[in-house]
Assembly symmetry: C2
Homo-oligomer: 213 residues x 2
DNA sequence: CCGGCGATAATGAACCGCCATTCAGTTGTC
DNA sequence: GACAACTGAATGGCGGTTCATTATCGCCGG
């Protein structure tokens, strides 16, 4: 329980943790490494966080909160129909590779581990991120822009997975060459919206024998 | 380098490692846990593997080799055009959630970590898996079934990411309810091939000012 | 203003449990 | 009896965490 009023050091520690965890991975990183990077004594970290796990989770929570808040505000400001905002969201996601590579690396690499092994931690922020995406898809379905037959939760997982993997690739590659995430976003939108098949979609009419509504 | 001629125990150890790593994660698993699960003394593991990392990598390599070999054989036997075989590959990938949940969990969760932090390990098997996918996509492009404008490497990453994420979801969920991966595969194929947008694709004709051929 | 006092924040050396790895000894085999 | 396979208790060191000590700060009486 970090009830202290001093905010300064807490922030330094979180920033340092992001850097260290992104570079070395959570399990390979020593608490002492984070302390050194933050310019703080080892023990100080335990004034603000219960233990190493708590540091990881706090970092996750806070960064995700920021990301989600900024995303929501941006989508609000963007306006337009669901597809326009979906495209915007995709661009934002991929832009992390350029805007904040450390954060991108941290999230793409540590997300699964933490979700799975720091049990008793439901990872509500990640769920929330998915929900933003899902709301967009379902809004698109209501507006008739997106086919209604497709399970929105599945679609959302697929889109997120694709984005996450591509972001990881971009991040790892960006140390080498500079990349144009906008072009990448463009291609992915094209894929998600219209598919990769040549020619028109066969049988656009409602599927035959589904269970009667 | 495990030069021993006894195969029996090596296999038992690898099976045990898969189980333990899948359940606890590599970093949380103790070598002693693997030994116990294999019905073997701690030290025996070091007769077959250099160290814990080597055990992880060997497990990865061998399982991926099996997966890829089986996949290649299946695709060969399946025949049909690129899209048919691509669909087949997608089904196979997702079927892991049901056929071998431990393997699915191990791969979806440990892949990124190992790829990134067991450096000096290029992860050639993973690359190979992606290559199978890529060959299918490019064949489809050559046959005119898949739009040629799209960067095959990007498409492949996106598809793999989507599959991986969905497989993870299925795997975690399958402990709770039984799932129908075929239906899921169907939806994903539909998404990849035709997109989620309602109505026809705008401007199906070749893009305007490309560089003259 | 000063200086001293309690409280709070910060330090970092030492502690201690954990676990990967080893190796002297045991078992089994031909 | 020699050789190889195997064992599992012992080891070593690594690193998360603690806590006695020190520094810093806010405050107030003189």
């Amino acid at each position: 329980m970090a009830k202290a009023k001093a905010p300064e050091k807490r922030v330094r520690i979180l920033d340092a943790a992001l850097k260290v965890f992104a570079e070395q991975g959570f399990y390979n990183a020593r608490v002492a490494d984070v302390a050194r990077a933050a310019g703080v004594a080892d023990g100080t970290i335990y004034l603000y966080f219960q233990n190493k796990d708590d540091l990881l989770i706090s970092l996750f929570e806070e960064r995700m909160e920021e990301i989600i808040a900024a995303l929501r505000a941006d989508l609000e400001a963007t306006g337009g129909d669901a597809l326009v905002r979906l495209r915007r969201m995709i661009e934002r996601h991929l832009s992390m590779a350029v805007e904040s590579p450390l954060l991108a690396e941290f999230i793409t690499v540590e997300l699964r581990q933490s979700a799975k092994f720091v049990r008793e931690y439901e990872n509500p922020r990640f769920q929330e991120y998915l929900t933003v995406l899902r709301d967009l898809v379902e809004e698109g379905q209501r507006e008739g822009l997106i086919r209604s037959g497709m399970d929105s939760r599945l679609i959302v997982r697929a889109i997120f997975g694709a984005l996450d993997e591509v972001l990881l690739t971009l991040t790892l590659a960006s140390t080498t060459r500079s990349i144009d995430f906008r072009e990448v976003a463009e291609t992915l939108c094209d894929l998600f919206f219209h598919g990769m098949a040549s020619g028109p979609r066969p049988g656009t009419m409602p599927r035959g024998p589904v269970v009667a509504p």
